[in-house]
Every structure is written in C-alpha cells, then in structure tokens.
Amino acid sequence: MKNRTHYGIYGGQYVAETLMTPLAELERAYFEAKKDPSFQAEFDSLMKHYVGRESPLYHAERLSGFCGGAKILLKREDLNHTGAHKINNTIGQALLAKRMGKKKLFAETGAGMHGVATATVAALFGMECEVFMGAVDVERQAPNVERMRTLGAKVTAVTEGSGTLKDAMNEALRRWITEVEEAFYVIGTVAGPYPYPMMVRDFQSVIGIEARRQCLEEYGKLPAEVIACVGGGSNAMGIFAGFLEDPSVRLIGVEAGGKGIETGEHAASICGGRLGVLHGSKCYLLQTDEGQIVDTYSVSAGLDYPGVGPEHCLLHDTGRAEYVAINDDEAIHAFDMLSRYEGIIPALESSHAVAEALKRAPNLSGDDLIIVNLSGRGDKDMQSVKNYKAQKGL
C-alpha cells in the first residue's frame, strides 16, 4: 500500500478521516477515466480547440545572444487560454468531476491563475465555482480576482494566518470536509494527498511530452537542461515528466528565494526546509523548530507556499533533479530582461526560471539547448512589479 500513495518516504494521505472515502472514490474514478479512450479524446480535443495547444517551443534569440552560451528555448505555456499552464490540469479535473456527477467545483489559489483556470472550466461545463484566496493575495493579484468574478465564480478571501496560499488551502480543505458529498476539490498543484500529486502531474505532463517532441523535431537533439519554477511544483513536474527517462537532460527546479535563504524570508521548501507533514502529504516544509508552519515570503504569490510536491522531494533526494533558489531581485531583473529583449512579459513565478537560465546559459556551449518552462504570462503582476520597484527605488 505504501508504494501506491507514496514517493519514497514522501507523499501519502495525511488527511482527516472524513476525506478518505472521497479520496478513494476520486482515485477509482481517475483510473477508470484513464482507461476510457473517450475521456482522453475529450481531454485532447479541449487541449487543442479550447486551450490552443500545442504551445510553441520558441527560441529566444536576442535573449540568448545577450547571455552568450546555450540557446534558450521557451516553452510558451503563457500562450494557453487563461495565460498559464494551470488550465491543463483544471480541464482534466473538471472532466473527472463531470464523470463523477459533481455539480460544484472549488479551489485554492495563490497568484490567482489556478483560480481563474478553475472558474473558466466551471463556466465551460456549467458548474458552480468557489475559489479560496488569501486576503494578501486578493490585494496583490486584484486583476485575477476580477477575472474570476467575471467568469461567475465566488471568490472567498481568507484572512487567517499569513493570508496567502497555504491559508487558502486550509480553508478549501475545511470546505471539502463540510461539503464532501456534493463538491469536487480541484487542487492546483502536485501537492496535497494522493491521488492529487499523481493526477495533476499526469494532466500537466502534456507540457513535457510536447516539449521533448518539439525539441527533437526542430533541433534533432535533447536539451542539456530543463528549467522550471517550483512553488507546489505543477509546471515543473509537468515539464520534467517528459524528460525523466533521459539521463543526459539535467532537470532544474527553481524555488522562490525571496529576500535570500539566509534571511529566512523566502518560500524555498527544498532549499531551506526540513521534512514535515502538511495538507495531506509528507514533504520538505518550512517550519519552526516546534513544527509550526512559518509564514513564507516571495514577491511572487504563486510560489509563496511552505510545502512542495512529494515527487519533487524524491527527485531531489535521488539527485535526478536539482533545486536552487532565485531571490526577488534576480526574478525582477529576469522579468525586465525577457520583456525588453523578447517582447514577452513573463509571470513573476516563471521569471524565477528565466533568471536561472540567464545564470546557466553562459556556462554552456552554443550548441547546447536550455528549455525554460514559461509557465505563465505577467499581466497580473504589473502592479506587484511597480510596487516592488518603487520600494527599492528602482
């Protein structure tokens, strides 16, 4: 039983007993759907006609030229409908909810992209939708709040704790315990209790499978490195999934270094945390010596989370993937660089991955390829960036 729900020592199902039956039902429904060709066909069709896949693998030539060294390729998940990779997963889960006869979706959100993606599929399938969002995030991601409301979703601000993603997830779990029969909980990342980490990874693996094929078709070889930002880790797991069996491809997960790991004000669970249990799974966790979860910090709301997906924890331990931290300043710099050199405004989350590519490209040769998962677009972040720069006097 351990093997099914765990990734090494990570993962599992650390939840209130009330949720064990719905989790078992969800797992059963998911495996049935996976075997059903009509489910996959509907998913693929929506990916193509609604989301606009496949997303391009774009050679950022001017940016690469500026850095010197490797060619930087961007996997353009920012071009998906709703502006991020999140829609891949919410379509999958909403199709599953429909199969299970659920009429109501609810979700937690940090940056608001998962909330928007959930509100979008709820509208698409004619379902009710409620999104829990930390009060701090409601402030700093106001445009996304308006988008969700426009799509017909109810946005509930969570004022408890630090008013960020983890608090939104606490409230979503409480809601699930209360409305366990009627509602379907759409988790936005590869965290949470099994089977969510597996399911979300599967739905997001379309990113990595596409990127690998596109890279081979266009360049006739695999990339030297694949880089993605990691909060809970869904876009990273999605793109890594395509390359796990290619030992020559280095996989690099970029966590939010905030003001710097040494300051304690960051959200880098693998780089700066230790083993713990939160929101249903065992993982690296930012916590006090007494096992209380700490308030994380990052300029990017979507990475502002104290835990991380269990599969990432295992990939870290086995060395198959490396995890590094990029701080706020570096991410903001990368945000500007990509905007000015390529005419692409990236999400602050994705800017962390871009920043790591800027560091690494010069160390590789001109024949080498780096794929960066550009997980989302930056429209939602204009105010955050403006405020950040004003504060810093930039």
Binding site: G12, Q13, V15, E17, L275, D289, G291
Partner: protein, 260 residues
C-alpha cells in the same frame, strides 16, 4: 489493562456514559489551562483530551482555531503541554489522558523522543487528527513500545468495513466517532440517522464508541449515549473560555461540566 480499559469496564459495571472533554492547551496560557483541566475533571469529566495548538488547523472550526492561535502567540508548545500533563497526572492518577494533535507537531518533535516523554508524562493515547489507518504504523510503533495507544477517528463517510479495519489492533482504545461532516464546533442539531450509525459502528468494531463534533448540550449528549458509550465536548467548552479567559470562565466551565 490500561487506564482507558479500566475506565470503560467500570462505567459499564455502573451502567453510565463516559464524558470526555477537549481543551486547547495553552489558551490563554499554560497555567490557566491546567486550572481549567482541574475544573473539568473535578466536575465530572471522565477522559481528558489535551489539544496541541497548530498553526494550520485544517479540521477545526473557528472557536478552536482562535484558541490555538492565541495559545501559540503566548508561547504554547508540545514540551510545555507534556510538562502540564505530568503535573496533572500526579493529581489524577486514574483519568485517561489523550493527546489530541496534528501530526506535524509530533513528527517534528521526533517520534521516539515524543513517545518516551509522553509516556513519562502519563499520556495514555494519542489522537492524531490527520493520521489515518494507512499512515498510522509509523506513529503506532513507537507508541506501543512506550505503552500507549492511538484513538482513531471514524467519520460519517467511513464505510463499516473500513471501521472494522480501523479497529483492528487498537482494541485497548476507543473509537472517536465524528457525528457530522465538517470541522469541529457545536451544532444546533445532530443527524437523525446517527443512532443507527453508532449502533452499527459498535457492532463491527467491538470497541467502545464515543461520539463527538457538534455536541454542546446535555440533551444532545443524552441522545447519542442511547446508542454509544459516551460523548466528547470540545468547542463548547473552549468557547466559554474564549469569552471568559478568567476565574469567571473557570467557574462557568465547572457549571457547564456539571450539567452533563
């Protein structure tokens, strides 16, 4: 026989129900919590549940969340709670003491160190809110080596065959049956099919059954006790103390406990 088994045997012989009380420890501070525990036990509480505050109480309603937040602000932690329990154990040698906690606090403390210190303090069992059957072995093993057990939860969504699995190996404990879907907190009404459900759970588990979540009035307690061995009151007590974190509050919870 452990303290839990001894108590249930005695209650059965006397044909009476078990009254279990939950308290968030460290609200508003440790010394007050100790007095509150004394007030409860001195006024009829049979089993005491010591709630360990956690920063992210996913299964708790607003009352216990508020108490936990303030307790943490005022420096409550597991070490201090175990010290309180050790002092109370001297005064109450036979009352079963249950430690009610989210797993991360115990896990982070170190399971072996925790089991050793909890046994010394006089804890009889641990109720880990977010550790289900599939994950409990890691915790149960050190607890067993230190003569403690686990109090497992049974939810309204738990099928009866799963109840039987949950019960297996924990015959020296009791089942905490959650009466309603949802988080902790007193409810105006309990589901009407509850009597049948409690009866069935008792049948398949062969364990003593206590009902909790949503019970805040003597009438509710009386109603569930027709079908099980006792009841648990938590939020209703914590609420009194939230409103009165003083001697008046201690008096009120004593009166409240006496009313059951």
């Amino acid at each position: 026989m452990n303290r839990i088994q001894t108590l249930f045997a005695k209650a059965k012989a006397e044909n009476r129900s078990i009254f279990t009380a939950y308290l968030t420890m460290g609200y508003p501070d440790m010394a007050f919590s100790e007095k509150a525990v004394e007030a409860l036990i001195d006024h009829g509480v049979d089993i005491m549940e010591f709630g360990v505050p956690f920063s992210d109480p996913m299964a708790d309603g607003p009352v216990i969340r508020d108490a936990a937040r303030i307790a943490l602000q005022n420096g409550a932690n597991l070490k201090k709670i175990l010290a309180s329990i050790a002092r109370l154990r001297k005064r109450y040698p036979t009352v079963p003491f249950i430690l009610f906690s989210y797993y991360n606090v115990i896990f982070s403390y170190g399971l072996e160190r925790f089991a050793e210190e909890a046994e010394q303090a006089g804890v009889d069992a641990v109720l880990p809110v977010d550790v289900v059957l599939e994950e409990r072995e890691e915790l149960l093993e050190p607890l067993r080596r230190h003569n403690m057990t686990i109090v497992p939860l049974v939810a309204p969504t738990t099928h009866l065959d799963r109840v039987a699995e949950i019960a297996r190996g924990l015959e020296d404990s009791f089942l905490y049956v959650i009466t309603v879907n949802g988080v902790t907190g007193a409810r105006a009404e309990l589901p009407h099919e509850l009597t049948r459900r409690l009866h069935d759970i008792r049948q398949v588990s062969g364990m003593p059954v206590l009902a909790g979540f949503g019970i805040g009035k003597p009438e509710q307690a009386e109603a569930v006790c027709r079908a099980c061995d006792g009841f648990i009151v938590g939020s209703a007590i914590v609420k009194i103390l939230l409103d009165n974190p003083n001697d008046e509050g201690l008096k009120k919870i004593a009166e409240f406990a006496s009313s059951f």
